[in-house]
């Protein structure tokens, strides 16, 4: 199947999903927090655009609401909140030395191939759009996990957490034209509350360990000493 022979909508969705996946890789290799947050906001923007595209093509007005929610939460509210925290902590100039950057990138690539392998069985039930978008969303979820493993800053963990949400949203939208509205609203509500709680937590962590480096949180062990 050649991409040039597809109609405009298919081509657009496929390019969007490629870009969304690319953003996850960019985040993975990013050691500076302000840039990391910026790339995260870009990913949110791409999701908003995809939602608008799908809404107009598929004539499903409720996707406009999802697009608006994504824009408000993932492009404006969360990035602005995180950016404020980073500047308040005065860590915006710090460059986190990422250990084994090459290994992390390569494992990221393998995770993407692994996603294709996992979702292989459903290939015969779906069109090209569905398969690729589902695979990209699964790999965005897995890359989000990898981001959390490879970074030590609490802010980077929140970005990883939220980019996992991005992957899930992308799966729900591109592969199934959006979940039922109640569920969509419920998920958005949970994300909002989670974001607010993260803000509260940054404050607590700072006052208790005077840093946002999660390696400093090492008091509790599986087997007590």
């Amino acid at each position: 199947m050649n991409i040039e022979t597809q109609d405009f909508y298919t081509q657009a969705i496929l390019s969007m999903s490629a870009l969304v996946g690319l953003m996850s890789f960019l985040m993975l290799g990013q050691g500076r927090l302000p840039r990391l947050i910026f790339v995260f906001a870009m990913q949110g923007m791409l999701l908003t655009l995809t939602a608008i595209l799908a809404a107009s093509e598929l004539h499903s007005p409720h996707l406009y609401i999802s697009a608006f929610l994504t824009f408000a939460l993932k492009v404006v509210f969360i990035p602005v909140m995180l950016q404020k925290q980073v500047f308040a902590m005065n860590i915006h100039r710090d460059v986190e030395a990422l250990k084994n950057n090459t290994t992390v990138m390569l494992s990221g690539a393998s995770l993407m191939i692994f996603s294709y392998y996992v979702l292989q069985p459903i290939i015969h039930t779906s069109s090209m759009i569905m398969l690729n978008t589902l695979v990209v969303s699964l790999s965005v979820v897995l890359l989000g996990l990898l981001l959390m493993i490879s970074h030590r800053q609490a802010v980077a963990h929140v970005v990883g957490f939220m980019s996992i949400e991005n992957g899930l949203f992308f799966a729900a939208m591109a592969a199934t034209d959006g979940m039922p509205m109640v569920v969509e609203l419920g998920v958005a509500f949970d994300v909002l509350v989670a974001a607010v709680l993260f803000g509260i937590f940054f404050f607590h962590i700072r006052t208790s360990i005077d840093s946002l480096d999660v390696d400093m949180m090492n008091k509790l062990h599986e087997v007590e000493r």
């Binding site: 459903i122 799966a171 998920v187 989670a194 937590f201 208790s208 007590e224």
Partner: protein, 486 residues
């Protein structure tokens, strides 16, 4: 159906009231009243279901059948008895200066928030809403884990938040795949309704459902505390206030398992194979054995009992995984008795820790000599949870063993070994704490042990003779889940 709306409304009203109004002297009592009313409502709901069978609300948003109705009553019951314990306990914590009044308001507001999330998980018919409510339960309890604001509690809460949040995200991916499979049958608005999915399960694509179940099991399994996804559980249980540990162990874990079993019923219908069961058996057995070993290496009393929770949840997951009527019946019974006994234990543990002024087991000594009620409560609770007759845990564990012997005889030695290891792990720590000389200056405290006695009394009753309506109920639920009568 009015009962369900009333139940949810009361919890919402509770959240708003505690959050918005100023501090009251009787805030704890008020919380107890709300929970008592909810208990009454759920009993009313249960009798309706018992007489008229499954209820599906007009909008199809809520489904009450024999499986979830008894869990709803159990949730309301444990919520009520724990609130009885929590009122004097939290007042004592304020006296010790560990908490401020503002945080007490937060505590009670989120207590109701947690109960709301639990009721919603159990009553909803929509698999998407079930996920939203499950995540809501995490969000409601995360600030309670860090209520004391010590570095340890903040670390525990952060771990809880991140691990459970990430874990449960996998469950959402599973739910999306489920929706993707169901949408192909047409009627996308109803494609996430469990009642619809259950009827049409045979037409769902088995390959997609298999993949989706893996994600759902990992996701909700994080909340059940299955090994190796369990790391958050001992931390969150040990660092939060004790009433919270009681409801987390007694209710949250059960409800997460409930979500997995609901999904398993769909997957079984679609694949016509036992793959979901095998996955659950594997995870369950590993959790059971690993947690039993970890019991030996604990030094904190609340961590000890949270590992015991992991062990029992593993056993239940294993039993649901075996499938079949006997194992399912045993798992349902075990869910009930474990909730009752474990929340009773956490209540006594709370008192014991307040008497000794620490949670370190090495410094808790001579409980029976200091305050016999607390000492005996802890000892009898531990006897009950370790699976001694005549308590209900013995009955359910015995039934699980019986079912295993029938279906997979070669797994029985492993189960017996695990039960033995867990027994010794619990008693080597408990014995010196309850017996022995009391340290100088250790004084009894004001303790309310009625909830403990009621819980242990019920566990005893279930061990000696299961009342007729309850066994009837379990049989109906067994028929619904396993497809065959006992």
């Amino acid at each position: 159906m009015i009962a369900v709306y009333l139940l949810l409304f009361l919890s919402v009203a509770g959240i708003a009231f505690f959050a918005l109004t100023g501090h009251h002297k009787d805030i704890g009592k008020l919380n107890t009243y709300i929970n008592a009313m909810n208990l009454a409502i759920t009993v009313w709901l249960a009798t309706t279901v018992y007489q008229h069978g499954t209820i599906l609300s007009e909008s199809k948003a809520f489904l009450i059948d024999s499986f979830n109705v008894y869990l709803i009553v159990l949730t309301a019951f444990v919520g009520f008895t724990t609130s009885l314990f929590s009122a004097p306990y939290m007042a004592h914590e304020i006296e010790l200066g560990k908490l401020t009044e503002g945080r007490l308001k937060l505590y009670y507001s989120m207590y109701q928030g947690f109960m709301l999330a639990m009721y919603l998980v159990l009553t909803t018919n929509n698999m998407g809403i079930m996920w939203v409510a499950m995540e809501g339960a995490t969000l409601a309890t995360v600030l309670l884990v860090s209520l004391y604001r010590t570095p340890e509690s903040i670390e525990a809460a952060w771990k809880y938040f991140i691990l459970c949040g990430v874990g449960i995200a996998q469950a959402l991916f599973g739910t999306i795949l489920l929706y993707y499979a169901a949408e192909k049958l047409g009627n996308p608005e109803n494609a996430l309704l469990w009642s619809v999915l259950h009827e049409e399960a045979a037409q769902l694509n088995p390959d997609i459902l298999k993949i989706s179940f893996v994600f759902l099991l990992i996701g909700y399994g994080t909340k059940i505390g299955l090994v190796p996804l369990h790391n958050w559980l001992p931390d969150a249980h040990s660092e939060g206030p004790t009433p919270m540990s009681a409801v987390l162990s007694g209710l949250l874990l059960n409800d997460a398992l409930y979500a997995v079993v609901r999904n398993k019923m769909l997957v079984d219908g679609a694949t016509q194979s036992h793959i979901a069961g095998y996955l659950m058996m594997g995870f369950g057995l590993v959790s059971f054995l690993v947690a039993a070993l970890f019991l030996h290496r604990q030094k904190d009393i609340k961590r000890l009992f949270s590992y015991s929770s992991i062990e029992h949840m593993g056993l239940m997951t294993f039993a649901f995984g075996i499938g079949g009527s006997l194992a399912t019946f045993a798992a349902l019974l075990h869910m009930t008795v474990h909730s009752l006994v474990k929340s009773a234990i956490f209540v006594t543990v709370g008192h014991a820790a307040q008497i000794a002024g620490t949670q370190k087991m090495a410094q808790i000594r001579g409980l029976i000599r200091t305050q016999p009620k607390v000492g005996w409560g802890l000892l009898i609770g531990t006897v009950a949870i370790a699976g001694f007759p005549p308590f209900g845990v013995f009955t359910s564990e015995f039934l699980v063993l019986l079912a295993t012997m029938r279906e997979y005889p070669w797994l029985t030695p492993l189960l017996l070994l695990g039960i033995g290891i867990a027994f010794s792990g619990l008693f080597r720590h408990i014995q010196p704490m309850v017996y022995g000389e009391k340290p100088e200056g250790q004084l009894p405290i004001k303790a309310n042990l009625i909830p403990v006695m009621v819980h242990l009394g019920f566990a005893l009753w279930l061990g000696l003779a299961i009342p007729h309506f309850l066994s009837d109920w379990f049989s109906q639920a067994t028929l619904l889940i396993s497809g065959s009568a006992l």
